[in-house]
C-alpha cells in the first residue's frame, strides 16, 4: 500500500513536471513572439503594408533601409501581405493588442471607415500642419484619405492617412508587338479598338490578364466606365453622395463593351483561372500586347521589358477630347492609435513624402504621390508617360476615384460581378443593378 501511494505520488509529480515544462515552453516562446517594445532609445516600429507587387515591394525595402540609416536607434519590422489577405486582416491587426505602429489602409467604408469608427487610427491634422502635408497636396487630392470624425462621411472632414505613391490606371503596351501590327499609339477609342481586333486576328488576344484574384478585371471596367460616363457623376457615387447611381445607360454601355471584348476573345485564354502575379510576370517576359492597370505593376514590367514597355491613357472618343481615367493617391498609411511611438511613426510617414523618397519610388519605376518639379526619368520610358498622365489628370475634373470604395461589400460585389460579366454569365443590366443595389443598401437614409 505504501508502494501504491508512493508510485501514485510519483505519477502525479511527473504529470505536474510535464505540465509545468509545457507552460514554461509556451510562455517563453510567446514572449519571444511578441515584439520587443523598447523604452527610450532604441525604438522599434512595426510596419504593415500591402506592397506585394515587385515594384512597390522593392521600394518599401529601400525606403525602410534609408530611414533606418538616417535614424540610428530605430529599427523597422516590416510585414507585407498580398492585397486580398490584406483586406482580410488589416482591421484585425490594428485592433489587436500587438497592433503595428504604421499600417496601410484602404480608402472607403470597408477599411478606413471602420478604422475611424473604431478609433483605431490617429487623426493626422496636427502632423499635417507640422510637416506641411497640407501644402504639398490640394484638398481634392487628399479627399480620399479623409473621413468625418465619426467615420460616417467619406471624402470629407479629418485627414487620417498619408499616401506615399499615386495611382492612375491606363494601358501598358509592348512596343515591339504594337509596331509589328503596323500601328502606333491610338489617338481615339475607335483606333484603340482597331488595334484590339488586329491583334486578335493575328491569333493573339491583346489583353494579358489574370483575374483569379478578382480585382484586375475591375480596372478594365472602371476605365471603360470613365470613358462612357461623367467623371463628376462617378465621383459623387464613389463618395456616397445622395442621389448618385451606378445604374445609368452610360455605365451599362461600358459594361456591355467589356462583355463584348471578352466575347470577342480579347482577353488571355482562361483568364479567370490565372493569377494576377502570373499574368504580370508573363507580360514582363514579353507575352501579350496590352495590360490595363496602374503604376504598381510598372516596376516589374520595366525590369522585364526595359524600354520596350510604354503607357498611355485610354484615348477619348474624339481626338483631342478629354482623357478620363481612374486614379487617386495610393493606399493611405495610418498611425495606429495604440502605437507607443506615434512621433517616430509620424516621422516615418513624413519621410515617405520627401523628395528623396519620391526619387527612390521613381527610380523603381513607380509613381510617387509627391508632386514632382523635375522628375529625372528617361523620356522614352513608361514611367515618364505615367508621370505625365498623372500630372495632366490629377488636378483635373477628369480623374475618377476607385469604384470599389463606396461600401464595405462593394469590393466583392463589383469585382465578382466583373468576373461574371466578362464570362458572359451576367448581363450588363444585371451587373450595374447589382452594384447599385449594394450601394443603395449601405447608403439608405
Amino acid at each position: 500500500m505504501d508502494h501504491d501511494k508512493r508510485s501514485e505520488r510519483r505519477g502525479v509529480r511527473w504529470l505536474l513536471v510535464v505540465a509545468a515544462a509545457l507552460v514554461a515552453l509556451v510562455a517563453a516562446t510567446s514572449a519571444q513572439g511578441k515584439s520587443t517594445k523598447a523604452s527610450a532609445d532604441p525604438v522599434t516600429l512595426k510596419v504593415f503594408d500591402a506592397n506585394n507587387d515587385p515594384g512597390p515591394n522593392a521600394e518599401q525595402i529601400e525606403l525602410i533601409k534609408r530611414f533606418e540609416a538616417a535614424n540610428p536607434g530605430v529599427t523597422i519590422k516590416r510585414t507585407s501581405v498580398p492585397f486580398n489577405n490584406f483586406l482580410n486582416t488589416v482591421k484585425l491587426n490594428l485592433s489587436s493588442s500587438d497592433a503595428p505602429d504604421v499600417s496601410d489602409g484602404n480608402q472607403g467604408p470597408q477599411i478606413d471607415g471602420a478604422l475611424v469608427k473604431g478609433k483605431l487610427i490617429t487623426p493626422l491634422t496636427d502632423y499635417a500642419k507640422k510637416f506641411g502635408w497640407n501644402k504639398l497636396w490640394t484638398p481634392t487630392t487628399l479627399a480620399p484619405n479623409t473621413f468625418s470624425a465619426d467615420g460616417t462621411q467619406f471624402g470629407t472632414g479629418t485627414l487620417w492617412g498619408v499616401s506615399s505613391r499615386a495611382e492612375i490606371v491606363g494601358v501598358y503596351y509592348n512596343k515591339t508587338k504594337l509596331k509589328a501590327l503596323g500601328m502606333g499609339v491610338p489617338k481615339t477609342f475607335a483606333d484603340f479598338e482597331k488595334i484590339l481586333a488586329a491583334s486578335k486576328a493575328k491569333g493573339q488576344p491583346p489583353f494579358m490578364i489574370g483575374n483569379l484574384d478578382k480585382y484586375p478585371g475591375g480596372h478594365y471596367m472602371m476605365t471603360l466606365a470613365d470613358h462612357y460616363s461623367s467623371p463628376a457623376a462617378l465621383r459623387n457615387w464613389v463618395f456616397g453622395r445622395k442621389g448618385a447611381t451606378f445604374d445609368t445607360p452610360a455605365v451599362r454601355k461600358a459594361a456591355a463593351k467589356l462583355q463584348q471584348w471578352a466575347k470577342a476573345g480579347y482577353f488571355e485564354n482562361s483568364f479567370n483561372s490565372v493569377k494576377d502575379s502570373d499574368a504580370q510576370a508573363r507580360f514582363a517576359k514579353g507575352e501579350g500586347l496590352f495590360v490595363i492597370s496602374g503604376p504598381w505593376v510598372n516596376g516589374g514590367f520595366a525590369t522585364g521589358l526595359k524600354d520596350n514597355v510604354g503607357f498611355f491613357l485610354l484615348p477619348p472618343e474624339v481626338a483631342g477630347g478629354p482623357t478620363k481615367a481612374t486614379g487617386s493617391v495610393s493606399l493611405p498609411i495610418h498611425i495606429s492609435s495604440k502605437s507607443k511611438n506615434p512621433e517616430m511613426a509620424a516621422k516615418f510617414l513624413n519621410y515617405l513624402t520627401t523628395a528623396e523618397a519620391a526619387n527612390i519610388i521613381l527610380q523603381k519605376g513607380d509613381l510617387p504621390a509627391r508632386p514632382l518639379t523635375n522628375p529625372k526619368v528617361d523620356p522614352k520610358s513608361s514611367i515618364a508617360s505615367i508621370v505625365a498622365a498623372w500630372r495632366k489628370t490629377s488636378q483635373s475634373p477628369n480623374l475618377v476615384p476607385y469604384m470599389d470604395w463606396p461600401t464595405p461589400t462593394m469590393f466583392d460585389t463589383l469585382m465578382g460581378g466583373v468576373q461574371s460579366l466578362m464570362a458572359g454569365q451576367k448581363s450588363p443590366e444585371d451587373f450595374t443593378k447589382s452594384v447599385q443595389d449594394d450601394w443603395a443598401k449601405y447608403h439608405k437614409g
Binding site: K117, L120, N272
Partner: protein, 318 residues
Amino acid sequence: MTAVSEPTQPPRPVTGRGGRVRRSARAGRAPGSPRWVGLLYLAPGVIAYVLFVLAPLGNNLWLSFFNWDGITTSTWAGLDNYSTVFHDSQIRGAFYHSLVLIFFYSVLPVILGLLLAATMSHMRVRGLATFRAILFLPQVISTVVVAITFQWLYADTGPLNQMLRAVGLGSVARGWLGDFDYALPAVGLIGTWISTGLCMVLLMAGVQRIPITLYEAARVDGCGAIREFFAITLPGLRNELAVVLTITIIAALRSFDIIYVASLGGPGDQTLVPSLVIYRDAFRNNAVGLASAIAIVLTVIILAVAFIVTRLVEDRAK
C-alpha cells in the same frame, strides 16, 4: 475541410452501444470512494471544453442576434440576420454549393468504396496493409498542400490539360478553376481525391468482418453477385457506411481550406461556400452578426444531417 476531420467515429452513440454493454457499476470505485470522484477527474477537461468550445458556441448564437462590425458597439438585430441568410441569393447559393460538394466529397467516394467492397467481399487481398497505407495518404496531407497542388494541376497550362491535349482532347482543356461551369465540380473532385481513400479503407475493413459463411450460404441458394451485394454486403456495412457518410458529409458542409486556397470562392461566386462567407463577413465586410447567423444555420444543418444519417443507416441491432 481539415485533412482528417474526424477519422472514424459516428457523431453520437446509438443506444445499445457504448453505454450499456458493460459490467457492474461497482467495478470503478473502491469501497467507500464517493461517486463524485469521477466528477473530479472530469473537471479539468470539462472546464477546458466549456471555455473553448461551448462558451464560444453560445457566444456565437448570441452574436447572431446583433449587428456588429467587430470594432464599435453592436446594435440589436433580432432575427434580421437570419432573414438575410434565407433571402440573400448569394448566401443561399453558398449553401447550395455545399450540397453539390456533398456529392463529390461523400456520395462519390462511398460509391467507389462500395464498389471495392463488393469485389473483394469474399477474397483475401494480398498486400492489403500496403494498399491501405497508400489509399489513406491523401487524408494525412495538409489541405493547403493539397489545394496548392491541385491549383497547379488544374491550371490552363498545367499537367491535367497537358495530358488532355496529348490525347487529342485539347478542346476540353481549360483553366478549370476559372471556368464558371466547371469550377465547382473541379473543387469537388479535390474532395473526392481526399475522401475516397478513407471510404475505401473503412469499407474494406468492414467487408472483411462479414462472415464468409453468409456468402457461402447465399451461393448455395443460387444467388447472383448483384443480389449478394444488396442482400449481404450492403446490410453488413451499415455501420461503416453511417460513419463514413457522416464524416464526409460534414466535411463537405464545412469545407473551407481547399476553396480559400484554390479558388477564393470564384470565379464570381461559383465556388462560394458557407464557411467562406462566414470568414469574409466576420473579418472583412464588417458583418459579424450575419456571419454568426450563417454559422448557426450551418451547425443546425450539420446536426440534422448527422442525426438523420445515423438514424437511417446505422444498424441498431448490432
